[in-house]
Subunit: 259 residues, 2 copies
Amino acid sequence: MNQQPDPDKRLPSRRIADDLRSSIESGDLPAGGKLPSERDLAARYGTARNTAREAISILQSEGLVVAQHGRGVFVRPRMPLMRLGANRYSRRLRAETGLSPFRIEVMKQGRTPRTECRSVTKEQPPADVADRLGLAPQTSVVRRENWYFADDEPVQFGVTYIPVNVAGDSPLASEKTLGKGSIYARFEELGYPITRIREEISARMPNPEEITGLGMPPGVPVIEVVHTSLDAQHQPFEVTRFVMRGDLNGLDYDMPVED
Amino acid sequence: MNQQPDPDKRLPSRRIADDLRSSIESGDLPAGGKLPSERDLAARYGTARNTAREAISILQSEGLVVAQHGRGVFVRPRMPLMRLGANRYSRRLRAETGLSPFRIEVMKQGRTPRTECRSVTKEQPPADVADRLGLAPQTSVVRRENWYFADDEPVQFGVTYIPVNVAGDSPLASEKTLGKGSIYARFEELGYPITRIREEISARMPNPEEITGLGMPPGVPVIEVVHTSLDAQHQPFEVTRFVMRGDLNGLDYDMPVED
DNA sequence: CGGTCCAGCTGGCTTGAGCCAGTTTGGCCC
DNA sequence: GGGCCAAACTGGCTCAAGCCAGCTGGACCG
């Protein structure tokens, strides 16, 4: 399985990166530990500083280390993932705890959850969303943008699209705060109990807005979830596009195998 | 939402990257299109070649472009995602088509599917797998390693762990080819119909083995799925860890909201 | 006409230098 | 002791230059 049997045939930058990587994987460099400085590495390996720098940038792109200006380069501590499951839509969970599953997950980690509705507007949805809602392309919908924090650090956001004939003039269409039981309780009151969901999941690198908005460290992907809620008649009544930090979030589905 | 109102306050490398990015997003540079050469960009912006190079490496790390030695740098064509859903375990689908859902997905894209069982061994499972199977840490299990290709390009692999008392001396324990209906048909014959699944999903950057094994382009994450199969008594009888190329795969779950 | 080969393109990687901007630390002064 | 400040670290980014290696097309030769 080795691709480079002779260790000195490797490029200098690769060699340095490989050495550091194995130190990290072996635990020699513990999580949170500090790597040698760029100038130090360069001297040790007899290379230019730029080469040591290149090695570190390889590890950064692998998500193994984070650099802090003026302080050093550190092994990225692996934060426990928030495990968000399909049960986040469970009616019982809503009723029993009165808390959203996001809040429960965050508190489970001893951190302080916060959610923030950043805007509620009426807009034309993106084509793929209109498609999922079964709407004509130009129909306008209610757009709600929510951000989710743990200890005031942003960990994910979601943009929800609701057809205007579903939201009507309920709080969903205008209010930022939706009260106890959160959004799915409101949908249920309007005659749209959530009975089925569809979740389309993909992973990719964040774009610049996501990098600044979520404070993404370099070398960390996002998980994108396009969620569609279906009512008792299996009609879609809401679509939300979630974008989550891949280093802080995971998804956990537990479901029956149908048919 | 702009973070840098003055376009010339930006760093040169950022500026070049931003310009190229918006050309890509606007469609000026179409998917598959060729970017100006490094030397060309450097001359145009009056910077050193290294700076143009840095700009391109930013776009690479965002997964927007891919460089080909000696040819140029190209806008990464967005391959359609393979949408692997929970229905991949459906008994009906198995029966009706006789094809695995992977094959169906790949053929739907007009590509040629191939799967390859690379090894079948008996080993001690990783701790987290033993845990999910409800086994004592040192118990050994059958380990099956499968690779999945589209047009002979690797797109994902999975490592399956089966307790020895489940596999017995069936083909599962030793044979690389499992015959019609694939692995879940065999489980069913052994008295383990798959009735529930748990899938734990995360995203991260690939490690070096995954990069070479899957031929990962730079700037593309992997999706990792830890799948657990449960029988009629809700007992786990199999765990598979899938690793998929994030640029070629997506997950698509359609499920009831329980409780 | 057909094949070969090479010039001139491409990116890949490194060097060594310099300047800037954060952070830390220790000594100095009050 | 307390506060301040400067030196000595850290990474961030750029420059200018050079050599290597893969690719391509056109000129040239048979």
